[in-house]
Symmetry: C2
Subunit: 254 residues, 2 copies
């Protein structure tokens, strides 16, 4: 009998978030599952790593084929600790999410969910991040299930190209309204921040960050368009940020 694959699950909304509980339920039938996830919400932590204070792990559940830990660090910390301390090896696959809120377009840059996925890819582990286009704690992760299982099964059986991981964004509509899976590119949107300026009881100003997503273009080959039009968006992602097309231009400058 072939041994079931070893799967690491993590996220950035914390180990108790409904999104990761749904992901665990969808993936447990597919392999031996180890969960190492932050002990509290870590949205917006991006690829932060913890070097200034020590990390701790807490065992939550341990049963045949399933282990679950919480960690006081970031999603990237969770992945590193999982590989080196919890598993003492790299897992066969890494799945992150299901994130509460979209990681399409520029959101990938701020996303702890996708930072965990990039950590997996950097270590050579086929890795996928799942996000649902709904920030609420009461979002319905049910319709996502079919697509999470389809994509995870495809990655487990067929792997991923070397150095490539996937950013999967799922529309927040009933399953029968989802039109299918679309492989596409990252949209070129951005966040337009604003700050809510207030004064504390001692008369000193402070600022709450707010913001709205600003669309740039409306191209049909982007993840933003796909999700808005009820497709599951799958973007292949790599971690080389070089703008190759600019190298020659700049060589003439310096």
């Amino acid at each position: 009998m072939v041994e079931k694959p070893l799967i690491l699950i993590t996220n950035d909304d914390g180990v108790k978030a409904p999104g990761i509980r749904a992901l665990i339920s969808y993936l447990r039938p597919l392999g031996r599952v180890v969960v190492v996830a932050p002990d509290r919400p870590q949205s917006g932590t991006a690829h932060a790593v913890t070097i200034a204070h020590p990390l701790r792990l807490e065992l939550i559940t341990k049963e045949p084929g399933y282990e679950e830990y919480s960690c006081n660090g970031t999603p990237a910390d969770c992945v590193k600790l999982a590989f080196k301390i919890v598993m003492r090896r790299r897992p066969d696959f890494l799945f992150s999410g299901i994130n509460h809120g979209t990681n399409a377009s520029i959101n990938i840059v701020y996303s702890g969910t996708m930072a965990a996925v990039l950590e997996g890819a950097l270590a050579g582990v086929p890795s996928v991040g799942f996000s649902l286009d709904n920030y609420s704690q009461r979002a319905d992760f049910g319709p996502a299930g079919k697509f999470v299982k389809t994509i995870a099964t495809s990655v487990i059986t067929g792997g991923l190209p070397e150095g490539i991981c996937l950013n999967v964004n799922i529309p927040d509509v009933p399953e029968d309204q989802i039109k299918g899976i679309m492989v596409c590119r990252q949209a070129h949107g951005t966040w337009q921040e604003d700050f809510d300026e207030r004064e504390d009881p001692h008369g000193r100003p402070y600022y709450w960050m707010t913001g709205v997503y600003a669309r740039i273009g409306d191209d049909r080959d982007t993840d933003q368009w796909a999700v808005e039009n009820n497709f599951v968006a799958v973007v292949p992602v790599q971690f080389d940020l070089t703008a190759y097309q600019a190298i020659e231009t700049l060589r003439n400058r310096f």
Copy 2:
């Protein structure tokens, strides 16, 4: 008389770090300078943004042509606050650093210094991050001066291609040993983490993250090679993480 350009300076080592003090001294002759930098070291914060607690700004210095503030947030927070609250406009240019330690190769993914630069680029501001290949607080930023001024002057006079920012890494050698500026690509290295496992006085384990940089290949067109061979490495950087070459392959899978 033409008005001098408005320059925003930030970093991730904190407003008191010798690296940003050197950068300020090199750039003040080139424009009106506003500094908004973290009030404490923020290395490894990557592109984290602060949404769970309010941000504060503290005015440190204000004189004609020069203002300096510290902020309790991340480098990305500093840039957003600078644009919306301090300046009430986008600056003409953004420079970040000089970072204590290299941001060549995969380090860009973890770097707060480069996250600030990407924030600038996302807002359409020509932006450059400078890093010195020496982590010490007592590093000598003197030899970097000539190259910082050359590159900043070129960007101020000639701009940068749209959507492109620069990751500049400077070798830690005397100026007469620096062979010149090399425009190149991000090396494909990675970090191999390890954890120093300890036990607290109450018998509970905790973990300090450590790690060594692992070279992948030794190509002469990379930033890693350039810095190791005493060239100033200039990598043009963009924030689209799509692995375009994998889109077609994956379309046949889903």
